[in-house]
Symmetry: C2
Subunit: 544 residues, 2 copies
């Protein structure tokens, strides 16, 4: 019998476990080098802690400690005062990829994929062979549980090495310890920088950090109030596609289409559901389970052609213009601060909201490219800047119009820190490492509009201050010539030179005052220059 | 009883199927907009076809057809003459994510993850609700099987809607038909451009393409020989980490450590295995299954401290310098072509090889940024340029040293097409969409060296031709003055003006010839200018 090539090839076909996939593709999870491995792990743990505390409505108190064990080996330890994890769930939450409570929940949160923490456990196990150690306690009169966990790579299931009851100092909270290969370094992509940016975006959190040099760094709580709690929402009908619609209908427990529409989607009343069904001639009393492909196709078309109210806005929790400006002021010395929070928009049925903050001048270097801080659901994005829709939008904005220099295809240059935040119930990241925003056209459009808004504010500030500066220089030049002019006038007019000099100085002072009053105040500008500050005190500037 | 927050949260915890994960994260797979959806689908299908044909050692003949059904709906149809897929495997190969024969095989191939085709089927199903249609036949006397397949999203398992025996025109091959929402457009990120670049990198393939405008485009086969077949290799010991090492040991069927080493790793002889074991005082006759954590740690350290031969090079199949230059010449009109294939290197135990090609001048626009063609295992990367280690390396190379202008943080500008290819048994992509290379330091280092090599060639060409051009301009200026000078000399010397003019012209021609001979020929340069070509014919230039 002839042996066909396809038959030989068939022997190699097999199922790949998701753990095995990520063991080999660890860079997808943010572990492509030892430096990044350290900051990715801290990030995953701290993000989880912040989410947990906010879910319990408790002000976050987070302790991060990194101990260096050998040249390349570190132990990361994160403790929080969150609600804890119930005993039975601990193994799967920490040692199974694609397991969690946040996926598809349609709530703005830092975690969303059910991968992050387990990925850090996987990486630790891969590079050191060691198990992760977890302690969690869910309430005052409950015992604290201690687990040592590894991942069974072939099955993507937790391996429990130890399971004990232990003492724990807090009433509730979680402590995670992971040993891994890493590299510690200060600078732009360091753990310090991640925590600093996290503190800017989360002024309600207190974070205490011990670095491998045993230095203690405290990021103090600046606001004693939790941010507005984001509400979970249902899928907006304008984001649905026929494949998902059919699946939702066939899995639905509603008895008829009308109920299905109002139960599963936001902004569709029973009335509106009937209208849509009538329009495309599908019986609104039919069982959703029985929906055919043709009917579903018609209904999705019907939905797209119907004007439906935008999704409710309480599902989003932006940082806010005032908080952005305060955050920037706390960390960066500049002359001018401004911020914009735009109204929420929708992509694929998911609401999202863009915020931009900017500061200019002061101690910032004039010759370098601007510094870009990217945030998604209040989490700093430190890697993959080039891959990010935020970067693309900044590069494609014409900053020359707003007074900055800019080369083709590059970030603008100038003394500017630009902060861009996207808040969404579902942030589309370009990879599981969650470091860059995917290039959805709706998001890029909205980013560009926000950048143009802030660009205009910057441009108007630069134009006006540059004008003032030029006029001031002209005035000072004039001042230099006063004695000369006064001598000549004295000779010509017979008046005393001193008198003429005094008069000329008076005139100059008067026009200088006028020049100084031309400083912009309509756009939340704050000037560092003391004399200007005094002048402006009378017309108190309100910050958003 | 007090209800703890953790207990409420526990109710939401659940397992997420990998299909569900990608249904929501479709942009990870390359489906973030309708334009890209179309080219991603064609890419996944054509890449699979090319791999299949090469596995069967048959010259690929691939037919791609895109039919537009409505404004936003398309049907993509790809037919190949590969080995086909055996009947029982068809459902899983096409309708189950993370299933395939290429994952972890350590062979250079276009597919490597077991995701691509099923992802296209998933996207089609999601946006149109339609099943994918597959016909496959594995040999002359075998029947062709027709399947209609969907994916059961909750289980990540195939749903078989139809399973029939049908007629098929070829002896062996596969035909896949997917209906999806998309957008057709010509240009930089189009299907045409993907196929054109594929033809450059795969001159042994014949690709016939019918676009939605019903235009037929043929990319002719230019080489009648299959590329060198890449051999599968075992993991190189220098790429192993303790977690994976432990797992491999515990799963090993070898009876002792010595056998385990030589069976599972490349470049470790039985002798060398004993040496390593002895050095770290682990008994080389012990059963690998019984290896403890401490022993494994010692062995991995021992491996790292041992000099081990580089992995065998026959596992890689580069395009080759000659083929790159011919590919570029076929598609791009320029004055100067050059290419470099570097020697293979290793990252994390995986061999990889960098190739760079460049063309300069001719019809290429001088004012724009250079055009960068990125390739991985002979597959063009059209998206996520900003995220790619290739782009990063190009941006960080100082092209001003080589005669191009370049702004900080940007690609250089000038009349250049730059082609960069990475071939590897495991290309580390930044996402499942396989559009950008992850930033592994070893890869970036090698990329930069390759770019500097080609940069020097470019620089020397520019310097020399610019010099020639300047001298030629000086000569032509001189020519203009000949009549004037001749008149003056005639007056001074009493010689006839005509004679003097002729003499002067002769001198000029002689020195012009010398100037033209200064054109570089050591570096594979080819000049468009006809006169130059003639001059150079004598010293025949060899390519590579």
């Amino acid at each position: 019998m002839v042996k066909h090539r396809a038959e030989e090839l068939a022997k190699g076909q097999r199922e790949i476990s998701v753990s095995e996939f990520f063991e080999k593709n660890r860079h997808l999870l943010g572990f492509d080098n030892p430096l990044r491995a350290l900051s990715t792990t801290v990030k995953e743990l701290v993000d989880n802690s912040l989410d947990a505390c906010e879910e319990m409505k408790v002000l976050p108190e987070i302790k991060v400690e990194i101990r260096q064990l050998t040249e390349t080996r570190f132990e990361i330890n994160v403790l929080d005062n969150g609600p804890g994890v119930v005993r039975e769930q601990i193994p799967k939450v920490f040692a199974k990829l694609l397991y969690g409570s946040k996926f598809g929940r349609n709530t703005q949160s830092r975690g969303q994929q059910g991968i992050g923490v387990s990925a850090s456990v996987l990486y630790g196990q891969l590079t050191t062979g060691k198990a992760a150690k977890i302690i969690s306690k869910i309430g005052k009169n409950k015992s604290a549980h201690y687990y040592e966990l590894k991942i069974d790579i072939n099955k993507n299931e937790p391996l429990i090495l130890k399971d004990q009851v232990v003492d724990f100092a807090l009433d509730h909270g979680t402590k995670v310890e992971i040993e891994l290969e890493g590299k510690y370094q200060k600078g732009k992509q360091s753990v310090e920088e991640y925590l600093k940016q996290t503190a800017i975006a989360n002024p309600h959190a207190e974070i205490i950090y011990f670095n491998p040099l045993k230095e203690k760094i405290v990021f103090k709580r600046a606001v004693d109030k939790l941010p507005k709690e984001p509400k979970a929402i249902k899928l907006h009908p304008h984001g649905v596609e026929i494949g998902m619609f059919l699946r939702m209908a066939h899995e639905s427990k509603s008895r008829n289409l009308q109920g299905f529409f109002s139960n599963e989607f936001s902004r569709i009343s029973s009335n509106l559901a009937k209208k849509i069904c009538d329009k495309v001639k599908v019986d609104c009393k039919m069982e959703p389970k029985l929906l055919t492909h043709v009917q579903a196709d018609a209904l999705v078309k019907g939905i797209r052609e119907t004007k439906i109210m935008a999704p409710p806005l309480d599902c989003l929790s932006p940082i806010g213009e005032k908080a952005i400006i305060e955050g920037l002021k706390k960390e960066i010395r500049a002359d001018f601060y401004t911020a914009i929070t735009r109204r929420p928009k929708v992509y694929r049925g998911f609401p999202f909201e863009i915020e931009v903050g900017l500061c200019f001048g002061g101690d910032l270097p004039s010759d370098d490219l601007i510094r870009l801080i990217r945030l998604a659901n209040k989490v700093p994005l430190q890697y993959q800047q080039g891959a990010c829709a935020i970067t693309k939008s900044v590069v494609q904005t014409s900053w020359r119009n707003y007074g900055l220099s800019q080369s083709k295809g590059a970030l603008p240059a100038g003394p500017v820190v630009l902060l861009v935040h996207i808040a969404s119930v579902w942030v589309p990241f370009t990879s599981e490492a969650k470091e860059a925003i995917a290039h959805y056209p709706e998001i890029i459009r909205e980013l560009k509009l926000a950048l143009q808004d802030i660009g205009r504010k910057l441009g108007s500030y630069i134009r006006k201050t540059v004008k003032v500066k030029e006029q001031r220089e002209r005035a000072s030049l004039f001042e230099k010539y006063i004695p000369e002019v006064a001598s000549s006038l004295a000779v010509l007019s017979g008046e005393k030179k001193n008198n003429i000099e005094e008069q000329l100085k008076k005139i100059l002072k008067k026009s200088l005052k006028e020049i100084l009053q031309e400083i912009p105040d309509g756009d939340k500008a704050e000037m560092k220059n003391e004399s200007v500050k005094k002048l402006k005190k009378e017309k108190q500037v309100t910050l958003a």
